[in-house]
């Protein structure tokens, strides 16, 4: 394999690895940027998205947990992947709305530490609830039949087909969210709220509704990420907490509240992982934290983050 092909292969690997992080991080970033709410339960929304996606897509044979004890040996609708891709965001959007209204809203004016404690606790509760219901074991969220197996890609050769779909779906969603935030009135209010929420309210805009929507959209994106990312790995109740740390790193690197920042952060993390695996595998996990540390030292607001207007 030529050097060009080799480098391309590593870069594409990085890109696809970063794509899921981007999808999870965008929701986290817009909630954090707009609502100034640190949502440690964002990973739990990914978890809900994955399990819901798996149950809509497949017929899952349960091998543990309370549901099995209650006589449900098989669970799931077996409707295939596309219905899951449509239904799960709606479901998790609803979960997000409920979360905003009853969990986040009373805590908007509270210190970050309170928000972290609350949402981290909530994440653990959700994770444990899944563990009780489905058991702690891992399930196989099979890829859709039309996207399983490898596909030949020019220059780099054989590539896992589903990962190309992940790239495609992520790109489409990122563009969609970008257009929503940049070119709609809703986006205008959200962006203004990010800069100075108090001023927006003084201008007579009732900001609670956009806040509700932002939280819902952020949650729905985590839900989609769960459906899209589910088939990549084995599914178990810990996947939510596992994805949360890289997602926060993406937000920190890219800059809070910035969609392009989240994309850049995700791609950078994916690339650092892929390049280090190729040249110095033992440093691959350390690499992403070094990257985050360098960014935090040199540009504390993140690569594309704005400096705070209001202290």
């Amino acid at each position: 394999m030529s050097l060009v092909a080799e480098v391309t292969r590593v870069l594409v690997n990085g890109l696809q690895q970063g794509a899921i992080y981007v999808l999870v991080a965008i929701g986290l970033s817009i909630i954090l940027g707009t609502l100034k709410f640190v949502n440690f339960a964002h990973g739990a929304l990914y978890l809900i998205g994955t399990y819901a996606g798996m149950l809509i897509t497949l017929n899952v044979q349960l091998t543990g947990g309370k549901l099995m004890d209650w006589g449900y040996t098989e669970l799931g609708l077996g409707w295939g992947f596309l219905p899951a891709l449509i239904l799960v965001p709606i479901l998790v959007f609803g979960v997000g709305i409920v979360m905003e209204r009853f969990v986040a809203r009373p805590f908007y004016d509270r210190p970050d530490t309170d928000q972290i404690l609350l949402t981290f606790g909530l994440a653990i509760v959700i994770q444990e609830a899944f563990k009780i219901l489905f058991g702690g074991q891992s399930y196989n969220f099979a890829r859709p039949a039309w996207a399983s197996g490898p596909v030949a890609v020019p220059i780099i050769g054989s590539f896992p087909q589903w990962r190309l779909y992940v790239l495609g779906i992520t790109t489409a969603l990122v563009i969609g969210v970008y257009l929503l935030i940049e070119y709609t009135d809703f986006g205008l209010v959200v962006r203004a709220g990010t800069r100075d929420a108090e001023m927006v309210q003084l201008l007579g805009i009732k900001i609670t509704r956009p806040y509700l929507m932002v939280f819902g959209v952020g949650a729905a994106l985590a839900g989609v990420a769960g459906v899209v990312g589910g088939p990549l790995y084995a599914v178990n109740p810990n996947i939510g907490t596992e994805i949360l740390v890289p997602a926060f790193l993406v937000v920190v690197i890219g800059g809070v509240g910035s969609i392009t920042g989240a994309v850049l952060g995700g791609i950078l993390i994916g690339e650092v992982l892929a390049i280090l695996v190729a040249v110095a595998p033992q440093w691959s996990q350390v690499g992403i934290y070094v990257l985050a540390a360098i960014v935090l030292l040199t540009r504390p607001q993140g690569l594309l983050g704005d400096e705070e207007v209001v202290p």
Binding site: N13, G136, S138, L232, A234
Partner: protein
């Protein structure tokens, strides 16, 4: 939670508590074991009858570790991963342990067939247990085991998965003079350079996996292939990688490269991509549990099975379930499987099934169950819980009661000499809740193993009995 690091301090306190009738203090030390034995312990202590006078053998043997047993119950500690990448295995281990305790106390399962066991407890004492979460982490596992030993007075500790965990815990057990019955640990080091007198392993090791797999795999795929290895970056993965290199190179294959991957890696795509690009004909995925499921799934997603032969040296049921159809045609070894058709195996499967809602037991569950009963039977044979006597009953003990044919728990390294099942993954359409692979060869122990001065055993120095 534990009361200091030194066992003697705790024992001294218990003695004082007994002599002065400080039942309340003893109650505190009893902790919150899963049973409610504290009340009984308190009563006997307040009578001044503790310090072993309720154990008939105690006059013959000095106090050692948690011997003599206080009260009417003997406490066993089950230290399994309830979180982390091996949590699924841990869950099934716990089922095996709980069933073993039930049978030891009330009869049933193998207990009915083992002459050494009576079904009414062990040495006249009811068996109770405490559990801990190792979180698949050596430090966490040691803390958990220390709590079981020092706070709950566990007389025997058993558990795994992860060899790093087993090695850390068995070192602690040697210091504390508490018997450790290894469950799922496959590193050569467990009964090799890190072996200890107080630990016994029924599970075979990576060395034996290499011995069992090489003939089957080279016969299937040819004898002059280049292979690439990915391995989990800790004790087990390293010895697994070394063993595969040794036996496959001896069989004529050549290693192109081998790369360590951090334990708990989720996305293996970059590692796999490097492997695919290496020009190797075969790929060994020395990963286990969730890591194994994810790396194998990734390899199949990338279509690597079309260009390379993939081998998953150590399999088990939970990971096969998590990997789904990806295991089709992939060779590996398993601790034990319900498909092994003989008296003890069938009895274990049916008893486990009726205990747990028709569930098919996994290898780790069988190991957990077997190791608990092994310990109990050794104590019965010894006629005492005095650890050195129990250990002597286990050393060089020959048995055929675990469904793996004739076995010997070798004295020189405490490694069971036993058969190793070689399996091949089934297509997804043929998988069901209990069957994920077919057994292609139950490699006899006569074709495996190594002398006491060879292989991993050459590095083993077991340490003292007392």
């Amino acid at each position: 939670m534990s009361h200091g690091d030194g066992g003697p301090t705790r024992r001294d306190v218990v003695k004082v508590a007994g002599a002065t009738g400080l039942a309340g203090l003893a109650g505190c030390l009893g902790g919150d074991s899963s049973g409610d034995d504290n009340e009984q312990t308190d009563t006997e202590m307040s009578d001044g009858t503790n310090d072993g006078s309720n154990d008939q053998q105690s006059e013959d043997y000095p106090p050692l570790g948690n011997f003599p047993v206080q009260g009417s119950k003997v406490i066993l500690g089950f230290n399994v991963p309830q979180s982390g990448p091996y949590a699924s295995e841990g869950k099934d281990e716990l089922r095996g342990y709980e069933m073993a305790v039930k049978h030891l106390n009330n009869g049933g399962g193998w207990v009915d067939d083992w002459d050494d066991l009576s079904g009414d407890g062990v040495l006249g004492k009811q068996v109770d247990y405490v559990t801990g979460d190792t979180a698949t982490d050596a430090d966490q596992a040691q803390k958990s085991a220390r709590r079981m030993i020092q706070r709950d007075n566990a007389l025997m500790v058993s558990g795994g998965s992860s060899s790093a965990v087993a090695i850390a815990v068995q070192e602690l057990c040697q210091r504390e003079k508490v018997t450790f019955m290894c469950c799922l640990t496959h590193s050569n080091d467990t009964t090799g350079k890190n072996c200890v007198r107080y630990s016994f392993r029924e599970m075979f090791n990576a060395y034996m996996t290499g011995q069992a797999l090489a003939p089957v795999v080279t016969e299937e795929y040819g004898d002059d292939l280049d292979f690439y290895q990915l391995y989990a970056d800790y004790s087990w993965g390293k010895t697994q990688q070394a063993s595969m290199k040794k036996f496959f190179e001896e069989a004529g294959w050549s290693q192109v490269d081998s790369v360590a991957t951090p334990l708990g890696t989720k996305d293996y795509q970059s590692y796999l991509s490097e492997a695919a690009n290496s020009g190797a004909d075969a790929l060994f995925l020395n990963h286990y549990g969730l890591d194994g499921a994810n790396s194998l799934k990734g390899a199949i997603d990338a279509g690597m099975d079309q260009d390379m032969e993939i081998v998953m040296p150590l399999y088990n049921r939970p990971m096969a379930q998590a990997a789904g159809g990806a295991i089709e045609g992939i060779y590996g070894t398993v601790a034990w499987d319900a498909q092994i058709d003989n008296g003890p195996s069938n009895k274990f499967s049916s008893t486990f099934g009726s205990e747990y809602n028709g569930r098919t037991p996994s290898g780790p569950a069988q190991l957990a169950y077997a190791q608990t009963l092994q310990y109990a039977a050794a104590a019965e044979r010894a006629g005492t819980f005095y650890p050195p006597e129990v250990i002597k009953q286990l050393e060089d003990y020959s048995y055929s009661s675990l469904g793996m044919g004739e076995e010997t728990m070798r004295k020189c390294d405490h490694q069971a000499q036993r058969a190793v099942p070689v399996v091949k993954g089934l297509p997804e359409s043929e998988q069901d809740s209990g069957t994920f692979y077919e057994i292609v060869n139950l490699t006899s122990r006569d074709d495996l193993g190594y002398g006491c001065s060879e292989g991993p055993a050459a590095e083993c120095k077991l340490g003292s009995y007392e």
